[in-house]
Structures are given as C-alpha cells and as structure tokens.
Amino acid sequence: MLGFNWLASYDSIAGEVPQIPKEWFKINAFLKIGENGIVTIMATNPEFGQGVTTSMPMVVAEELDVDWQKVIVEHAPFNTDLFTRQFAGGSQAIRSGWQGLRMAGATARQMLKEAAARAWNVPVTEITTKSGILYHKNSGKQAGFGEMASAATKIPVPKEVEMKAPKDFSIVGTSRKNVEGKNIVTGEPMFGFDIDREGMLIAMVAFPRAFGMKLKSFDDSAARAMPGIKDIFSFKSYKDDYQRNMFDASAFTDLVAIVGNSTWEVMNAKEALKVEWEPISDTTINVAGFGGGSRTVVIPAGLESTADHHAKMKEAAAKPGRELRRDGNPEEAFKNAAKVIEQTYTAPYLAHFMMEPINFFAHVTDDQVVVAGPTQAPEFVERTISARLGIPVEKIDVQMTRMGGGFGRRAYNHYATEAAVISQKVKAPVKLVYTREDTTRFGVFRPTYYVTYRAALDKNNNLIAFHAKAGGIPESPLEANRFPAGAVDNYLAEVWSIDSNITIGAFRAPRSNFMGAVEQSFLDEVAEAAGKDPIEFRLELLKRAKEKPVGERNDYDASRYAGVLELVREKSGWGKESSKKNRGVAAYFCHNSYAAHVVDVEVKDGQPRVERVCSAMDCGIVVNPDAAANMVEGAVVDGIGNAMYGEMTFSKGEPEMDNFDSYRMIRYNEAPKSIDVHFVQNEIAPTGLGEPPFPPVFAALANALYKATGERYRHQPFIKNSFD
C-alpha cells in the first residue's frame, strides 16, 4: 500500500542529517531515544500552518534538554488514550499542551538521570544534563542520553519532576525552522488531496446549489455511460434521526455520489448528471448539547437572499434585544450626556477559501475503517463515522494529513462521513474530492453580523456610558464581559438573532473577528468626538478598568491590554510621524492573548494601499519567535483581505460567489509592503496566537482609511462600505 512518509525532515538548512539509530528506546508516548542519542519527538496535533509540528516538539525537547539538531519530528497517530486535545482551533494547542509537553520531556530527563545515577552509583541529585549529555561533576563521569536510554525505560515514571525555569530555556524562545519546510518546497505528498492508495477510486458528491433545497430525483443515464465511471447512487450522509454533535454542520445530507477512476472523469460525469431539487419544509434536527443532553433545532424552510437578510437585520436591530449585562444606569447617563455618538457597523457572511479544497480518503471493510485527510477535529470524525456506520470507534483509524489551510472550516467534517459511506457502498478505498466551487457552496460560513453602538460623553469628554446592541444571522457575536465593559460606569449589552437555513461555523477568531473590528472602529470615533488621541483614550479607559473596575466579570487583564498598546505606540513611533501619515490603531483581547496594530495607509491614484503594519502581541512565552511572527504577519494580511474584499452574498438561497474569480481574496500586490511584529517579553505561560491578532486588523485598517480618505469604514467589505 502506498502511504505517507510521516517522518518529518530535519532542520534542512543546518544540513547534517542524523544517523538513524539501530535501536529505539521508547520513554513515553511523546518521545523515544536511539542508542546514538538521536531523539524522536512526536508531533501530536493537527497542522494547518500554525506551526505546531515544530513548536510542540520544541517544548518537549526543551525539558528533555536535548540538542534540537538531534531531534527527528514524527507525526503521532490520532489516539485519545495517549494524547489530549488533538484538535486545531481556538488557539489552544500550545496553551493547553504546555504543561503536558513539558512534563513529557522533564519526566524523560529525570528517568535518564535516575538511570545514570544507578549506573554510576551516585545520588541522582548530583546528576546534571546539558544538550543531551548527562554529567556527574564530582567523578567526572558523563554519558550521552543514548547510552542511558535503554536503562531509563526500566525506571518507574516519576510522579513529580522539576521543570526548567523559563530563564534557562535554550530551545523555547529561539527561532527554529519549520521541520516540514523542505517537504513543502519540494512538493512532497503531505496533504489529503495527495493521498493515493492501492485500488483507490475517486468520488464526488452532487448537492443543491441553493440552501433551502434538497434532493428530489436524479437521472444518471448519461453520466453513468461516461468513461471511467464506476457507480452513481444517492445516499444519506446522516440518518434522519441522528443526534448531531456541534461539528456536524451540514445543510445537505441527501447526496448523489459519482464514483470513478480519476478526478477529471468524475468531474465530467458530475456535469452530465441530471438532478432535480425541491424546497425543504421546516426541518427539525437533534443536536447534542455541550455538557450532555440535547436540543432540537428547527431549520426554517425558504430561499434566503442577502437583501432580505439586510431588511430583517435592520428590523431586529430596531427592537429591544436580550440583555446580557447592565452596569449602573445607562438610560439615565445617556439622557444626561453632553454628547452621544451612535453608529451602526455590519459585516457580511464570509467563506473560508482554504487553499486545499475539501477531500477525504476512506476505506471501509467489514472489520475496519481507515479514514485519512485534512481535519481540525479528528475526534469528531471518528464519533460521527462510528454513529453513521454503527462501527465502534476502536475499529476506526483516523489519520491526519497536513491541511492546506483550515480557518475553522475543517472542524466540520461531514465530508469524512460522506467518504466513509461511499467507500462502504462501493466496497473499495475511495478519495472523496470537492471542486473549488463545491468547497465554497457546501459552505459552513462565517455568519453575517450587525451592531449598533452608542457612547455618551460628559462635558469634560469622559466616557460615561456605553451601549452595544449586536446581532446576526443566525447568532449574535457579542461577548458582554469584554472591554470596554469594566471601564465604564454605565454599560448595557443586548443581543438578538435571526434563524436561517444557511449553515455557519467557526471562522478564524469566531465572533471576535467581528466584535474586534467594530468595537475598535467605534472607539476611534468616540476618541475623535472626545478630542483625544486614540491610544491615550484607550489607555485612560484601561487605567480605569485596572484601578477601579466596574463589575466583577470582566474577562481581560487591563495591564496586559495596555501593555500591547504601549508597545505598539513605541515601536510604530506613534505621535512622532509626519502629519501626512494616515495611521490607524486598534487593540483587542481574545483567545487569551492581547494584540495591537498600527496600520499606515497610502493613497496612490485614488487607491488606498497598506504600506506598513506594526504589531504588538502579548501571548506570554513565545515558543518559536520567527514562526510566531509569521503567523501574526499572516493574520495581518488575512485581516486586511477580509476587511477590504471578503463577502459572500446569497440570491434565492444560492451562494453568489464560488471561486477566486468571483470571491476576492487578497493578493500579493494588495498586501502590506512590510509588517513588523513585536512580542511583549514575559514569563507567563503561553496563550493563543493563531486567532488573537486577526480581529483588530480590520479596525486598525478602518481607522487608517478614515485618515486617508475622510470617510468612516463601517460596513465590510470596505471596497463597498455600504449596507442597503
């Protein structure tokens, strides 16, 4: 069977390829040591470009105290008995993995020390390590980890171990190249789309072009006769009474499978397939709750259009919402205000457009299921397939491939179950592939959102009241306990939502990607109305939140929040720039980390272009600084792109964009000319980085565009800046 070469490359620039050991000694699930001192460390988590294949093993290597040049990174299998949280999303990999990864390395080091102490007949407390070598100072004895590895496997696993102090780190906090870099630049097979196994067939699925429609009938007479076609049949991806989990989003569960020898032949047959669709009625589905139990959800019938959505959102926003938080007496404060600022901000649905279109491999036999492909949520792939096929999870082998992007979309793995059902039916290994258009149209979109803000200033231009009323289809984006809650005496947060049959899901920094954008744009308007510098204005509020917070449930650390603003002020030379510069600033806290950006915009021939972005992050200890900077740079580009161009609209239930020719993604010539990323230096345990820098980019850009054009950018995408 052809398979993947899971052995990661070595530091491809350092050059020296380590000798593969004759024998491996497995110390624990995370690492094994060869007799020659080469160490294999497992990369446990799904990789979609966030760099965990390199950064997580770095943490293990640090506490093991080994030379990084002697480390081979190998992909761990999906195994919930051995590893926790093999999931990509929520900016949690390093944060929730930190202690466990350190323990894995530190306990192994302790076992090696113990083995050396026994071999040398000296107290273990006198043994020290450095870069893969064990030392006993008094006797002058020393040995490589490889020499003690065999004996270490016989040492009981210590319950408690001493871990390094952050000041002693020599790997964590130093930049290490992506261990898969060389495989990437040479085009090695590593993605799900690259899977090729013996006897494998290719499958595609046909589904309605419009949300609110379902399969009525199909005529496959022409398609079936086309070259290379093996089978065409309809199937249900989920059974009608199936209790869905939170990642089972799928608008289309009655599908037609087209199975054949090659992608091109199957694509052509799919074009020749004649399918009739019919409108759905109101449909009730059963969804499992977070902490057990379940709830029924009614998916409304109807063919929805963007114009109708806008009308409904305006209507809902005009009514009182559901109150989430109230401090002081906001009504009274607004009545007594010297100045009231009120603005509405909106954002459309967004599609993820990860570069690798949807695909998944499945081989279902009587006694085993093997599935492989790009997934952020392998545990949910296993659960859903188990429920659908009635096969216990023990018999399901989920293999994770490197993902060509995810951004949230690959947490929703309906396609893995589809592949498994198709494989079971055709009794063959099958790779299910979606075209780019299908990948978009089966969308699990970022919802469309709408917020109305009001701020009250007293006669001394102090912010005395703040009111946010936010909603969306089908959910509200508001987090009521975030800044500026806690910094204002009178605060009111209300939400509303409108039901829809358009499927939605996580998109890089869910909900925050809207709230960070709009809150930080509005605060810029309030600062201007108050006649204050936008950074000073925010720092004043944060000072208040720190010294005399309003309420007890504020979910941010005001000092760290202020810290990124101060750092970005210093590094960008804020306030020192020539008056010609069009600069905007924004800061946000989400996913446990703090981010601030200063964006400089230049207008050339009437076209605004971001010249430079200066970013400041506080995510605690930074494991792999250059890779971390890369992720922040990516978030900046992604934020500018989505803010400027990102938009999915619907007409009679149909997505109106489905490929890069209709859905505009940011390109090379639209990216900033330079991005400088700075990290707050501290010894706080690391927190997330994939998501937190993303939301405030939108606002820093909007605020800079205002300086450049005199126009406020309240409606995404900014190239339209309208909400009709």
Partner: protein, 152 residues
C-alpha cells in the same frame, strides 16, 4: 482516450488519457507528481503552476493535447535535492504556513527570475499577483525573492 508522449523533468513519459484532460490531473493522478496542486481549476490561484518551455503556466487549464513535445518542469524537477536558489531562499525565510500554495509560488518566482534576473518590486508584484496565499505569507515571499535575486 489517446496516447501522449510527454517530457517532464527531463524524463520521457507516455500517458493514455482523454485529450481534454488538464495537465494538472495528468501530473497528479497518472504520473503521481502531486507537488502541483489543485486550487481553483480556473487559472485564478496559481497553485497548479508548472513550467512549459520555461514559462510559468497554469496546468489546470492546459490540456494534455496542447503540450506536444515541449519541456515540462514541475516542482519535483526544479532541483535534485530542493536546493534551487529560490527553494533555499524560501527555507531561509521560513515562508510557508500551511504550504499548499508554495510549490506554485516557487514555480512562478523561478520563471520570473529566469526571464528577468533583477526584477523591480513592481515587476515582482505583477508576476506574483496571480498566486494566492490564503495564509498571507506575501511579505515573506517578497523577502525570499529578494534573497534569491541576491544569491545569483
């Protein structure tokens, strides 16, 4: 179906496929050269970029029947050991995030530098703007191209 003789990465191949099959799928599925990626199928993203007689082309819209005996190069054939100056520059700047678009980015950059060893920033912009990187690594791509230019 028809037989086509192809010259790819300095080797001769024969495939028996429908003449309308795009080179993308011939490379990926018939010849198992999967470094050339499917991204859009309509020449909008550049993930499938290959060289035909040294020119960067989108293999997703290049039919196998159009190629004739022209020299095709894919990412796999760019260098013996991943040591083309552009590949090395990509590693030096640790450009990739997810990495899916990067073979296409590299193929476009290599074709540009072959034709124009010292391009201006606006020439680089023009050449690279057909390749989308969804992770947003454009500023690193720019640095890597400058490093590759300087290394020559």
């Amino acid at each position: 179906m028809a037989k086509f003789n192809l010259k790819i990465n300095r080797k001769a191949y024969q495939v028996d496929v429908d003449p309308s099959t795009p080179m993308l799928w011939v490379l990926r599925e018939h010849l198992k050269l999967v470094g050339t990626k499917y991204g859009c199928g309509v020449a909008q993203c550049g993930a499938c970029t290959i060289h035909v007689n040294g020119e960067a082309v989108r293999s997703c819209i290049t039919f196998v029947s159009e190629v004739g005996n022209k020299e095709i190069t894919t990412i796999e054939g760019l260098s013996e050991d991943g040591d083309h100056p552009v590949q090395k520059a990509w590693l030096e700047h640790d450009v990739a995030q997810c990495g899916y678009c990067q073979p296409g980015q590299i193929m476009t950059a290599v074709a540009l530098l072959k034709k124009n060893p010292h391009p201006t920033d606006s020439e680089i912009e023009e050449a690279m703007s057909g390749n989308i990187c969804r992770c947003g690594t454009y500023t690193r791509i720019k640095k890597a191209i400058h490093t590759a230019i300087d290394s020559k």
